[in-house]
Protein backbone atom coordinates (compact mmCIF):
# COMPACT_ATOMS: atom_id res chain seq x y z
CA UNK A 1 0.00 0.00 0.00
CA UNK A 2 1.32 3.43 -0.97
CA UNK A 3 2.11 5.67 2.01
CA UNK A 4 2.48 9.35 1.11
CA UNK A 5 4.07 10.34 4.42
CA UNK A 6 6.70 7.60 4.13
CA UNK A 7 7.39 8.70 0.55
CA UNK A 8 7.86 12.32 1.66
CA UNK A 9 10.11 11.30 4.57
CA UNK A 10 12.30 9.06 2.40
CA UNK A 11 12.62 11.74 -0.28
CA UNK A 12 13.47 14.49 2.23
CA UNK A 13 16.17 12.31 3.85
CA UNK A 14 17.47 11.37 0.40
CA UNK A 15 17.57 15.01 -0.68
CA UNK A 16 19.34 16.13 2.48
CA UNK A 17 21.98 13.39 2.45
CA UNK A 18 22.66 13.38 -1.28
CA UNK A 19 22.42 17.18 -1.52
CA UNK A 20 25.01 17.46 1.27
CA UNK A 21 27.34 15.00 -0.47
CA UNK A 22 26.95 16.93 -3.73
CA UNK A 23 27.83 20.21 -2.04
CA UNK A 24 30.83 18.44 -0.48
CA UNK A 25 31.80 17.24 -3.96
CA UNK A 26 31.40 20.80 -5.25
CA UNK A 27 33.93 22.06 -2.68
CA UNK A 28 36.24 19.15 -3.48
CA UNK A 29 36.16 19.89 -7.23
CA UNK A 30 36.82 23.57 -6.59
CA UNK A 31 39.78 22.67 -4.38
CA UNK A 32 41.28 20.24 -6.89
CA UNK A 33 40.98 22.79 -9.70
CA UNK A 34 42.82 25.27 -7.46
CA UNK A 35 45.50 22.62 -6.68
CA UNK A 36 44.44 22.17 -3.05
CA UNK A 37 43.61 18.77 -1.47
CA UNK A 38 40.20 20.08 -0.37
CA UNK A 39 37.92 18.76 2.36
CA UNK A 40 36.52 15.21 2.55
CA UNK A 41 33.30 14.57 0.62
CA UNK A 42 31.22 14.33 3.77
CA UNK A 43 32.52 17.64 5.16
CA UNK A 44 29.37 19.60 4.28
CA UNK A 45 27.18 16.95 5.91
CA UNK A 46 29.38 16.88 9.02
CA UNK A 47 29.18 20.70 9.21
CA UNK A 48 25.39 20.64 8.90
CA UNK A 49 25.05 18.04 11.65
CA UNK A 50 27.65 19.77 13.83
CA UNK A 51 25.65 23.00 13.90
CA UNK A 52 22.62 21.21 15.34
CA UNK A 53 24.67 20.32 18.43
CA UNK A 54 26.48 23.62 18.88
CA UNK A 55 25.39 26.27 21.34
CA UNK A 56 23.21 28.94 19.78
CA UNK A 57 23.88 32.59 20.54
CA UNK A 58 21.73 35.63 19.95
CA UNK A 59 23.32 38.89 18.78
CA UNK A 60 21.95 42.03 20.48
CA UNK A 61 20.96 43.59 17.16
CA UNK A 62 18.59 40.87 15.98
CA UNK A 63 14.84 40.99 15.54
CA UNK A 64 14.40 37.69 17.38
CA UNK A 65 11.05 36.31 16.14
CA UNK A 66 11.97 37.06 12.56
CA UNK A 67 15.57 35.89 12.99
CA UNK A 68 14.38 32.46 14.11
CA UNK A 69 11.27 32.13 11.93
CA UNK A 70 13.13 32.87 8.72
CA UNK A 71 15.28 29.73 9.01
CA UNK A 72 12.21 27.60 9.69
CA UNK A 73 10.51 29.13 6.63
CA UNK A 74 13.59 28.39 4.53
CA UNK A 75 13.51 24.77 5.64
CA UNK A 76 9.75 24.51 5.13
CA UNK A 77 9.79 25.87 1.58
CA UNK A 78 12.41 23.42 0.36
CA UNK A 79 10.68 20.49 2.02
CA UNK A 80 7.63 21.71 0.09
CA UNK A 81 9.86 21.70 -2.98
CA UNK A 82 10.54 18.00 -2.40
CA UNK A 83 6.83 17.28 -2.01
CA UNK A 84 5.85 19.22 -5.15
CA UNK A 85 8.81 17.90 -7.17
CA UNK A 86 10.09 14.36 -6.67
CA UNK A 87 7.10 13.11 -4.63
CA UNK A 88 4.00 14.48 -6.40
CA UNK A 89 5.49 15.80 -9.66
CA UNK A 90 3.16 18.77 -9.30
CA UNK A 91 3.04 22.26 -10.74
CA UNK A 92 6.06 24.27 -11.81
CA UNK A 93 4.25 27.39 -10.63
CA UNK A 94 4.58 26.21 -7.02
CA UNK A 95 8.32 25.70 -7.58
CA UNK A 96 8.46 29.25 -8.96
CA UNK A 97 6.65 30.44 -5.81
CA UNK A 98 9.12 28.54 -3.62
CA UNK A 99 12.02 30.15 -5.44
CA UNK A 100 10.44 33.59 -4.95
CA UNK A 101 9.98 32.93 -1.23
CA UNK A 102 13.62 31.83 -1.08
CA UNK A 103 14.61 35.31 -2.27
CA UNK A 104 12.38 36.85 0.41
CA UNK A 105 14.07 34.64 3.00
CA UNK A 106 17.53 35.77 1.84
CA UNK A 107 16.35 39.36 2.09
CA UNK A 108 14.74 39.07 5.51
CA UNK A 109 17.40 36.82 7.00
CA UNK A 110 19.92 39.56 6.26
CA UNK A 111 17.79 42.40 7.56
CA UNK A 112 16.64 40.60 10.74
CA UNK A 113 20.21 40.05 11.93
CA UNK A 114 20.99 43.76 12.22
CA UNK A 115 24.52 43.06 11.02
CA UNK A 116 25.98 45.38 8.34
CA UNK A 117 27.01 42.31 6.32
CA UNK A 118 23.51 40.91 6.58
CA UNK A 119 22.02 44.22 5.51
CA UNK A 120 24.29 44.44 2.47
CA UNK A 121 23.30 40.90 1.57
CA UNK A 122 19.67 41.90 2.07
CA UNK A 123 20.07 44.67 -0.51
CA UNK A 124 21.87 42.31 -2.87
CA UNK A 125 19.04 39.78 -2.52
CA UNK A 126 16.74 42.39 -4.07
CA UNK A 127 19.29 42.93 -6.84
CA UNK A 128 19.69 39.23 -7.46
CA UNK A 129 15.95 38.78 -7.96
CA UNK A 130 16.98 39.08 -11.61
CA UNK A 131 17.78 35.38 -11.44
CA UNK A 132 14.04 34.87 -10.94
CA UNK A 133 13.56 36.35 -14.39
CA UNK A 134 15.51 33.41 -15.74
CA UNK A 135 13.21 31.02 -13.92
CA UNK A 136 10.06 32.89 -14.90
CA UNK A 137 11.12 33.05 -18.54
CA UNK A 138 12.05 29.36 -18.60
CA UNK A 139 8.73 28.37 -16.99
CA UNK A 140 6.79 30.54 -19.45
CA UNK A 141 8.68 29.16 -22.44
CA UNK A 142 8.21 25.61 -21.17
CA UNK A 143 4.48 26.31 -21.13
CA UNK A 144 4.62 27.60 -24.71
CA UNK A 145 6.29 24.37 -25.83
CA UNK A 146 4.50 21.76 -23.74
CA UNK A 147 1.19 23.60 -22.98
CA UNK A 148 1.38 22.48 -19.37
CA UNK A 149 2.87 23.55 -16.04
CA UNK A 150 2.60 20.09 -14.55
CA UNK A 151 5.93 18.28 -14.11
CA UNK A 152 4.28 14.89 -14.54
CA UNK A 153 2.70 16.06 -17.80
CA UNK A 154 6.04 17.45 -18.99
CA UNK A 155 7.60 14.02 -18.36
CA UNK A 156 4.79 12.43 -20.39
CA UNK A 157 5.32 15.02 -23.14
CA UNK A 158 8.96 13.98 -23.36
CA UNK A 159 8.01 10.31 -23.53
CA UNK A 160 6.15 11.13 -26.75
CA UNK A 161 8.29 13.91 -28.27
CA UNK A 162 11.76 13.13 -26.90
CA UNK A 163 13.84 15.04 -24.33
CA UNK A 164 13.34 18.81 -24.29
CA UNK A 165 17.10 19.41 -24.21
CA UNK A 166 17.16 18.59 -27.95
CA UNK A 167 14.08 20.64 -28.71
CA UNK A 168 14.99 23.74 -26.67
CA UNK A 169 18.70 23.73 -25.78
CA UNK A 170 18.77 27.46 -25.05
CA UNK A 171 15.90 27.00 -22.63
CA UNK A 172 17.94 24.31 -20.89
CA UNK A 173 20.90 26.70 -20.80
CA UNK A 174 18.69 29.34 -19.19
CA UNK A 175 17.61 26.85 -16.53
CA UNK A 176 21.20 25.77 -16.06
CA UNK A 177 22.11 29.39 -15.30
CA UNK A 178 19.65 29.28 -12.39
CA UNK A 179 21.60 26.31 -11.04
CA UNK A 180 24.88 28.18 -11.51
CA UNK A 181 23.37 31.18 -9.70
CA UNK A 182 22.55 28.98 -6.71
CA UNK A 183 25.92 27.15 -6.71
CA UNK A 184 28.22 28.08 -3.80
CA UNK A 185 30.97 30.57 -4.71
CA UNK A 186 29.50 31.01 -8.19
CA UNK A 187 30.07 34.26 -10.12
CA UNK A 188 26.43 35.20 -9.47
CA UNK A 189 26.14 34.31 -5.76
CA UNK A 190 26.36 37.93 -4.72
CA UNK A 191 24.22 37.49 -1.59
CA UNK A 192 26.83 35.27 0.07
CA UNK A 193 29.91 36.91 -1.43
CA UNK A 194 33.08 36.71 0.66
CA UNK A 195 33.38 40.50 0.55
CA UNK A 196 30.41 40.52 2.93
CA UNK A 197 31.68 37.54 5.04
CA UNK A 198 28.80 35.05 4.58
CA UNK A 199 26.11 37.55 3.67
CA UNK A 200 22.69 36.86 5.13
CA UNK A 201 24.04 33.76 6.90
CA UNK A 202 26.77 35.64 8.80
CA UNK A 203 24.91 36.10 12.09
CA UNK A 204 23.12 32.76 12.23
CA UNK A 205 24.81 30.31 14.61
CA UNK A 206 24.01 26.96 16.14
CA UNK A 207 20.89 25.08 15.17
CA UNK A 208 19.63 28.00 13.07
CA UNK A 209 22.69 27.67 10.84
CA UNK A 210 22.06 23.93 10.79
CA UNK A 211 18.56 24.61 9.42
CA UNK A 212 20.02 26.91 6.74
CA UNK A 213 22.60 24.31 5.68
CA UNK A 214 20.00 21.55 5.65
CA UNK A 215 17.76 23.72 3.47
CA UNK A 216 20.60 24.55 1.09
CA UNK A 217 21.40 20.89 0.50
CA UNK A 218 17.73 20.11 -0.16
CA UNK A 219 17.52 23.15 -2.47
CA UNK A 220 20.52 21.96 -4.48
CA UNK A 221 18.96 18.50 -4.87
CA UNK A 222 15.57 19.94 -5.93
CA UNK A 223 17.09 22.30 -8.52
CA UNK A 224 19.17 19.54 -10.08
CA UNK A 225 16.25 17.11 -10.00
CA UNK A 226 14.05 19.68 -11.76
CA UNK A 227 16.63 20.35 -14.46
CA UNK A 228 17.19 16.67 -15.19
CA UNK A 229 13.49 15.79 -15.08
CA UNK A 230 12.30 18.71 -17.19
CA UNK A 231 14.96 18.48 -19.88
CA UNK A 232 15.98 14.81 -19.98
CA UNK A 233 12.57 13.21 -19.68
CA UNK A 234 11.66 10.04 -17.83
CA UNK A 235 15.00 8.79 -16.50
CA UNK A 236 15.62 6.41 -13.60
CA UNK A 237 16.80 7.57 -10.19
CA UNK A 238 20.25 6.12 -10.86
CA UNK A 239 20.65 8.30 -13.97
CA UNK A 240 19.27 11.29 -12.09
CA UNK A 241 21.98 10.74 -9.44
CA UNK A 242 24.68 10.39 -12.10
CA UNK A 243 23.38 13.55 -13.81
CA UNK A 244 23.44 15.41 -10.50
CA UNK A 245 27.07 14.40 -9.93
CA UNK A 246 28.05 15.56 -13.44
CA UNK A 247 26.26 18.92 -13.09
CA UNK A 248 27.84 19.46 -9.66
CA UNK A 249 31.30 18.81 -11.12
CA UNK A 250 30.60 21.28 -13.95
CA UNK A 251 29.39 23.98 -11.55
CA UNK A 252 32.40 23.26 -9.33
CA UNK A 253 34.67 24.02 -12.30
CA UNK A 254 32.72 27.19 -13.07
CA UNK A 255 32.90 28.36 -9.45
CA UNK A 256 36.61 27.57 -9.20
CA UNK A 257 37.75 29.41 -12.30
CA UNK A 258 35.47 32.46 -12.36
CA UNK A 259 35.70 35.44 -10.03
CA UNK A 260 32.58 36.64 -8.27
CA UNK A 261 30.96 39.40 -10.27
CA UNK A 262 29.97 42.65 -8.67
CA UNK A 263 26.19 43.02 -8.20
CA UNK A 264 25.64 45.21 -11.28
CA UNK A 265 27.59 42.93 -13.58
CA UNK A 266 25.90 39.86 -12.11
CA UNK A 267 22.42 41.28 -12.78
CA UNK A 268 23.31 42.45 -16.29
CA UNK A 269 24.88 39.09 -17.16
CA UNK A 270 21.80 37.20 -15.97
CA UNK A 271 19.44 39.52 -17.84
CA UNK A 272 21.53 39.26 -21.01
CA UNK A 273 21.57 35.45 -20.84
CA UNK A 274 17.81 35.39 -20.19
CA UNK A 275 17.15 37.68 -23.17
CA UNK A 276 19.40 35.83 -25.62
CA UNK A 277 18.09 32.41 -24.58
CA UNK A 278 14.45 33.56 -24.59
CA UNK A 279 14.71 35.02 -28.10
CA UNK A 280 16.63 31.97 -29.28
CA UNK A 281 13.85 29.73 -27.97
CA UNK A 282 10.86 31.80 -29.13
CA UNK A 283 11.99 32.26 -32.75
CA UNK A 284 12.02 28.51 -33.60
CA UNK A 285 8.59 28.15 -31.94
CA UNK A 286 7.16 30.99 -34.08
CA UNK A 287 8.72 29.68 -37.26
Amino acid sequence: MYNLMADILINVCLAFLFGSLLLGLHRKVMARVQLRPGPPLIQYLLHSLKFFFKESSWPKTISKPFYIAITVILCAIWVTGIIVGPVLKGSLMIIFGIYAVHKIVEHNSGSSSGSPYGKLSCVRAVFSASSELLLFASVALLYLITHTMDIGAIITYQQVHGPLIYKAPLLALMFFMIIVTKAPYSPFSITTGKDIISGFETEHFGFLRGYIMLSESIMWYVLLWLFLTIFFGPISLLWIFIGMIIITIITGFISAITPMLNPNHSVMSQLSIALICAIGTIIPIMI
Binding site: I10, G38, P40
Partner: protein
Protein backbone atom coordinates in the same frame (compact mmCIF):
# COMPACT_ATOMS: atom_id res chain seq x y z
CA UNK B 1 10.74 1.61 -3.26
CA UNK B 2 13.67 2.58 -5.48
CA UNK B 3 14.16 5.69 -3.32
CA UNK B 4 14.32 3.58 -0.15
CA UNK B 5 17.11 1.43 -1.59
CA UNK B 6 19.03 4.51 -2.64
CA UNK B 7 18.57 6.02 0.81
CA UNK B 8 20.04 2.86 2.39
CA UNK B 9 23.00 2.94 -0.05
CA UNK B 10 23.57 6.59 0.81
CA UNK B 11 23.53 5.93 4.55
CA UNK B 12 25.92 2.99 4.13
CA UNK B 13 28.22 5.15 1.97
CA UNK B 14 28.24 7.92 4.58
CA UNK B 15 28.99 5.47 7.41
CA UNK B 16 31.84 4.00 5.34
CA UNK B 17 33.13 7.48 4.52
CA UNK B 18 33.11 8.54 8.18
CA UNK B 19 34.93 5.35 9.23
CA UNK B 20 37.47 5.79 6.42
CA UNK B 21 38.11 9.34 7.54
CA UNK B 22 38.58 8.30 11.18
CA UNK B 23 40.83 5.39 10.19
CA UNK B 24 43.11 7.43 7.94
CA UNK B 25 43.41 10.25 10.49
CA UNK B 26 44.36 7.69 13.14
CA UNK B 27 47.14 6.38 10.84
CA UNK B 28 48.29 9.73 9.44
CA UNK B 29 48.59 12.45 12.06
CA UNK B 30 51.21 14.44 10.12
CA UNK B 31 50.32 18.04 9.15
CA UNK B 32 51.21 17.18 5.53
CA UNK B 33 50.34 14.44 3.04
CA UNK B 34 52.97 11.67 3.03
CA UNK B 35 53.75 10.36 -0.46
CA UNK B 36 53.61 6.62 0.02
CA UNK B 37 53.31 3.50 -2.12
CA UNK B 38 49.94 1.99 -2.83
CA UNK B 39 48.38 0.64 0.34
CA UNK B 40 47.57 -3.00 -0.50
CA UNK B 41 44.74 -3.64 2.04
CA UNK B 42 43.07 -0.36 0.99
CA UNK B 43 43.55 -1.27 -2.68
CA UNK B 44 41.88 -4.64 -2.04
CA UNK B 45 38.96 -2.86 -0.35
CA UNK B 46 38.62 -0.48 -3.29
CA UNK B 47 38.70 -3.26 -5.89
CA UNK B 48 36.23 -5.45 -3.98
CA UNK B 49 33.96 -2.46 -3.34
CA UNK B 50 33.81 -1.30 -6.95
CA UNK B 51 33.38 -4.85 -8.25
CA UNK B 52 30.50 -5.51 -5.87
CA UNK B 53 28.83 -2.19 -6.70
CA UNK B 54 29.17 -2.40 -10.49
CA UNK B 55 29.20 -6.15 -11.09
CA UNK B 56 26.70 -7.36 -8.48
CA UNK B 57 24.92 -9.45 -11.13
CA UNK B 58 27.92 -11.82 -11.28
CA UNK B 59 27.02 -13.23 -7.86
CA UNK B 60 23.46 -14.40 -8.20
CA UNK B 61 23.33 -16.37 -4.95
CA UNK B 62 23.35 -13.24 -2.77
CA UNK B 63 20.66 -10.53 -3.19
CA UNK B 64 21.99 -7.58 -5.20
CA UNK B 65 20.80 -5.16 -2.53
CA UNK B 66 23.24 -6.66 0.01
CA UNK B 67 26.14 -6.82 -2.46
CA UNK B 68 25.68 -3.18 -3.51
CA UNK B 69 25.44 -2.09 0.13
CA UNK B 70 28.73 -3.81 0.99
CA UNK B 71 30.33 -2.42 -2.17
CA UNK B 72 29.16 1.12 -1.48
CA UNK B 73 30.43 0.86 2.11
CA UNK B 74 33.91 -0.15 0.91
CA UNK B 75 33.92 2.53 -1.80
CA UNK B 76 32.95 5.17 0.75
CA UNK B 77 35.66 3.96 3.14
CA UNK B 78 38.44 4.37 0.56
CA UNK B 79 37.16 7.39 -1.37
CA UNK B 80 36.68 9.54 1.70
CA UNK B 81 39.90 8.86 3.55
CA UNK B 82 41.93 11.85 4.65
CA UNK B 83 42.37 14.16 1.59
CA UNK B 84 45.43 13.03 -0.31
CA UNK B 85 45.04 9.33 0.59
CA UNK B 86 43.06 6.57 -1.15
CA UNK B 87 42.88 8.35 -4.51
CA UNK B 88 45.05 5.99 -6.53
CA UNK B 89 43.41 2.97 -4.89
CA UNK B 90 39.98 4.33 -5.86
CA UNK B 91 41.00 4.91 -9.48
CA UNK B 92 42.55 1.44 -9.78
CA UNK B 93 39.48 -0.18 -8.17
CA UNK B 94 37.14 1.65 -10.53
CA UNK B 95 39.18 0.81 -13.63
CA UNK B 96 39.40 -2.90 -12.70
CA UNK B 97 35.67 -3.03 -12.01
CA UNK B 98 34.84 -1.17 -15.23
CA UNK B 99 37.05 -3.58 -17.16
CA UNK B 100 35.18 -6.56 -15.69
CA UNK B 101 31.85 -4.87 -16.45
CA UNK B 102 32.87 -4.27 -20.07
CA UNK B 103 34.05 -7.88 -20.49
CA UNK B 104 30.80 -9.27 -19.11
CA UNK B 105 28.51 -6.88 -21.01
CA UNK B 106 30.09 -6.71 -24.47
Amino acid sequence: MEELYFLIYLIVFIVGAALGLLYSYSIHLEPFVVKEKINIPILAMAIIGWILALNFNLLNIIPSFILISIGVFLIGFVIDMRPGYGRRETVIGFVVSLFIWLITHI
